[in-house]
């Protein structure tokens, strides 16, 4: 029988143990709640010009470093090391080929705002460091990324290649750096390491659809890596790949009985030559969406049927699991999404989403308020002009304001390399053909002028256009600079690129919200759509031909100089040492030379015949050749002195 005090102690100890266990269990669940997650999504959308858009979206998230330590089981370690080493708070790296066709594919929706990127490589990053260290960190970051993604991103390291915009690109306190390489090629070697960051690589799940020849045969492809890191939320990595493809269908050119041409009916197999045979097993969710734009929805409504997956205008090949309708702020239905959960499909029953059109249909995608484009003016290799035009697309400003104060704001951000020396004072604005004063149109302007071989020229402008305007043009004059011969690329005669300018419209919001069916789980793709994003568009890349030197000149100069030197030294030595006719005179003296010609004499010598000595005829005056000789020496010496003088001056 235990004494009561021991029993009490035992009770107390067991209670303590129980408490400890509960605490451990609680912390374990708390840790489990903050685990790494991976989701994959695919969005398909038919485009008005008979093409199809496919948008792959992969999100990996890692909890804050303090909770998880250094071990990752889904999140790519390369990225977390990158974030920790370079103290990155936000980063976006995109590889793009092709130009986003704003007229046909839209400019007002979240897809074009977030995924229409300038051709080549674009990199921007916000660092969590004191301002003095950011440039050095940026340099190391570009090198690391070039090794990670097999691209020449290291060309962005020098200060002539990147800029630090203040408000034209994104609002920041000076810790943002932006750089773009317009001529960078994008190919399988950039996609390979990008796919290796995914937990299932390209072996399972939605990424297994990526048949490389299909992706690179598209009209536009852009792979993007975006990461956001914070102490509270950890690291969120979004990898997206946006491809615009021409589906290879046989029925493409069918004419309908009504006389119009049917849009091509396509399916995933037509786009990628493969079907989707299951999800990535470690993904939290795996979904495929088909987006039917507002233009099509309006047509369906007009035709009188309701917008379901099987209506008078089109039919989806597989019945969707769910359909989501977007509600704009007037509670009118705009676009709709049909959702498929890949969990329900496997290799026996693969998923092959497709759309078949029943009636010919023409629709258009909503565009940004102005179509911004940029071009070069002028000719010759000395000077030129950059012109930017804004063409109104007829989008009425939502705030119905018919007063004269109605204006549309546009922010322009442009980086110009140093060898295109822009004269910012020569900025001229023309609205509907009439020249306007700068102060009428330009609200705010911030210019970082270029410095030769040091800095590019950065320009950020806030413009205010009257709502009734049809066309606005801005022009800037520039002079073309000269590069050192070593700085020219191997194909210098092609020209040099001015990266795309970014035009954004801060009063227009491109977000779309879809009602969430499952409050516990939000699709990252739809979350991105819901984010506030201003309408943005990138202009074209400009190709500026610069004066190139004649690259063969170093070789020519060496050859020419060596020839002259050889001639000079040769002649000098000849003049000093060679005595012409000495041999003859010697032979004459010895009496060998007789009146026979020189050639028979040589032949006789060659034959080895003994030549009989005969009377010498050495009566030639000796003073004349000597004075001639002196004259020759003097002449050569004068030439030499002149040449020395010219080469030294």
């Amino acid at each position: 029988m235990m004494p009561p005090s021991t029993a009490r102690r035992l009770c107390f100890l067991s209670l303590l143990l129980l408490l400890l266990l509960l605490a451990a269990a609680a912390s374990a669940t708390a840790d489990a709640a903050a685990a790494e997650e991976f989701t994959e999504e695919l969005l398909l959308r038919p485009l008005p010009d008979r093409k199809a858009l496919a948008h792959f979206h992969f999100r990996s998230s890692a909890p804050p470093a303090s909770a998880a330590g250094r071990h990752h089981h889904l999140f790519p370690k390369a990225i977390s090391q990158l974030v920790q080493k370079f103290h990155i708070s936000e980063l976006e790296l995109s590889f793009t080929q092709g130009r986003w066709n704003y007229e046909q594919w839209g400019g007002y929706d979240p897809m074009s705002t977030n995924n229409a990127k300038p051709p080549g490589v674009e990199l921007w990053a916000i660092f969590d460091l004191p301002l003095a260290e950011i440039d050095a960190t940026w340099k190391n970051l570009t090198h690391t990324l070039s090794g990670l993604f097999c691209a020449s991103i290291n060309f962005l390291e020098s200060s002539t290649a990147f800029s630090a915009p203040r408000w034209g690109f994104k609002l920041n306190e000076g810790n943002l750096r932006y750089g773009a390489l317009p001529r960078e090629a994008v190919c399988t070697e950039n996609l390979t390491p990008w796919l290796k960051l995914l937990p299932c690589r390209d072996k399972a799940g939605i990424a297994s659809l990526l048949y490389r020849p299909s992706v690179y045969k598209g009209y536009y492809h852009s792979q993007k890596l975006k990461l956001k890191s914070s102490q509270s939320l950890g690291i969120i990595l979004d990898q997206t790949l946006t491809v615009v493809l021409q589906p290879n269908t046989v029925s493409g050119k069918q004419l309908h009985s009504t006389g119009g041409q049917l849009q091509p009916s396509w399916s995933m197999e037509h786009l990628f030559s493969k079907k989707l045979s299951g999800k990535c097993l470690v993904s939290k969710s795996s979904r495929v969406f088909v987006e039917i734009e507002k233009g099509i929805v309006d047509n369906v409504d007009k035709a009188g049927s309701d917008v379901s997956s099987n209506n008078d205008l089109f039919v989806l090949s597989t019945a969707p699991d769910r359909s989501l309708k977007e509600l704009d702020n007037l509670e009118v239905q705009s676009s709709s999404l049909y959702e498929y959960d890949v969990n329900n499909y496997n290799s026996d029953k693969p998923l092959n989403v497709g759309i078949t059109w029943k009636l010919p249909l023409i629709w258009s995608c909503t565009r940004a308020p102005y179509h911004a484009s940029r071009f070069l003016m002028g000719s010759g290799n000395e000077r030129g002009s950059i012109a930017m035009s804004f063409l109104s697309t007829g989008l009425d400003k939502q705030l119905v304001d018919s007063s004269n104060d109605c204006s549309i704001k546009a922010v322009v951000f442009q980086v110009v390399p140093w060898y295109v020396k822009v004269y910012y004072h020569s900025l001229e604005v023309f609205i509907d053909g009439n020249s306007k004063a700068i102060s009428e149109v330009v609200d705010k302007i911030h210019v970082t002028p270029s410095e030769d071989k040091l800095l590019p020229g950065t320009m950020e402008m806030l413009l205010k256009f009257p709502c009734s305007m049809q066309l606005a043009t801005l022009t800037l004059d520039f002079d073309k600079g000269f590069l050192h011969i070593d700085e020219y690329p191997p194909d210098a005669n092609q020209g040099f690129d001015i990266p795309s300018a970014l035009v954004s419209f801060p009063e227009f919001n491109s977000s779309r919200s879809y009602p969430e069916a499952d409050p516990l789980f939000v699709s990252p793709l739809l979350e991105n759509f819901k984010e506030d994003g201003v309408v943005k568009s990138y202009t074209e890349v400009l190709l500026v031909p610069l004066t190139t030197p004649d690259f063969s000149m170093p070789y020519n100069v060496i050859t020419f100089t060596c020839t002259v030197l050889a001639l000079y030294f040769g002649s000098l030595l000849n003049a000093l040492r060679r005595r012409i006719g000495e041999e003859e005179r010697g032979l004459k003296k010895a009496g060998i030379l007789n009146k026979r010609g020189l050639i028979p004499l040589l032949i006789a010598k060659l034959r080895g015949q003994k030549v009989d000595p005969s009377e010498s005829e050495s009566t030639s005056p000796a003073s004349l050749p000597r004075s001639k000789l002196l004259l020759k020496v003097v002449f050569v010496a004068v030439v030499a002195i002149v040449f020395h003088y010219l080469s030294n001056s």
């Binding site: 070039s146 097999c150 090629a185 399988t188 070697e189 390979t192 020849p213 194909d491």
Partner: protein
């Protein structure tokens, strides 16, 4: 740079890259330098595909290619930096040749060349003296144990005429004064798709797998001058081993020799023992024996690891 006559050089390099990967060398041990973008070039009718045969059966670009230096980065300076290891501190590991004194390196170069030079990017040349100097530096810095240089250009043998470092074996597709020719023209793509020397090299390797022990001698003797239309000349005066004893997988593949043993691995135990107090009595002798055995085995394994680390630099 869009030059059509480079397609077959890309195909040469990629064919060898594929062969070397197939025989076991991983991407992290391969440095691939491609001077031009052929696969995703707008003029290529087959995007993301590079072929070395007009039957188009094999896509050399595949799904899994990693190019370390491409486009404007392929310069003589970068090439010599890779060989000698003299990079700026920011250069990432995937762009460095991380070899040591036990490494076997394969260096394959193809492109346009001539008497004692190889052309880079249409505006630079690599001279045979530069290459010999770089190899000499590599030897001084113990960056290789054996080096095989394969060159497929016109007058290829002149490129390694200045080499003097021991342990270097070199083979070129043609001798001084001879041209190297392309194999066949693909009328669909419109250009020649492979060179003769590389085509015959690949024909030799297609018959092999990772465990073959075909020797270098058989590779070098497989070149038939009447098929190549040039003389494949090789230089073995700096290489001490007999060519018929060296398997091709020494350079072109990566084979780890595994020794099956029934006993447990005591490598860590030996290191750990140093901290433990020696137990008394007749265990002392056992401990000492264990220690010796374990350390011997560990040094064997290290040696194996070092001598079988293969590197391949493939360049165009």
């Amino acid at each position: 740079m869009i030059c059509r006559f480079n397609y077959r050089h890309m195909a040469n390099t990629l064919s060898l890259y594929r062969t070397v990967k197939r025989l076991g060398i991983p991407d992290e041990r391969i440095i691939l330098m491609l001077a031009d973008d052929m696969a995703c070039n707008p003029r290529n009718n087959y995007p993301a595909q590079v072929f070395n045969n007009e039957n188009h059966q094999l896509n050399l670009y595949g799904d899994n290619v990693e190019v370390d230096y491409r486009g404007y980065e392929v310069t003589v300076e970068n090439f010599l930096r890779v060989l000698t290891g003299r990079h700026e501190s920011a250069v990432p590991r995937s762009k460095r040749l991380l070899s040591d004194e036990g490494s076997h390196i394969l260096l394959y170069m193809t492109g346009h060349g001539g008497d004692e030079f190889l052309k880079f990017q249409d505006n630079e040349e690599l001279q045979s003296h530069d290459l010999a100097d770089a190899v000499k530096q590599m030897k001084e810095k113990h960056r290789f144990k054996e080096l095989l240089i394969m060159v497929d250009t016109c007058q290829a043998a002149t490129l390694f005429s200045q080499l003097q470092s021991p342990g270097v074996l070199a083979i070129g597709s043609s001798m001084k004064g001879e041209n190297s020719y392309s194999h066949h023209l693909d009328s669909d793509i419109g250009v020649s798709v492979v060179d003769r020397f590389t085509f015959h090299t690949l024909a030799f390797f297609e018959k092999l797998n990772m465990y073959s022990n075909a020797s270098l001698n058989s590779l070098f003797n497989s070149y038939d001058p009447s098929m190549l239309l040039s003389t494949a000349y090789y230089r073995m005066d700096l290489y001490k081993r007999a060519l018929n004893e060296v398997p091709v997988t020494n350079f072109f593949g990566s084979v780890m020799k595994t020794i099956h043993t029934d006993s447990a691995y005591t490598g860590f135990l030996a290191a750990h023992d140093a901290e433990l107090p020696l137990s008394v009595g007749n265990n002392i002798l056992d401990h000492v024996m264990l220690q010796n055995e374990a350390s011997a085995r560990r040094s064997n394994i290290e040696e194996m690891n070092v001598s079988f680390s293969k590197f391949c630099i493939s360049f165009i």
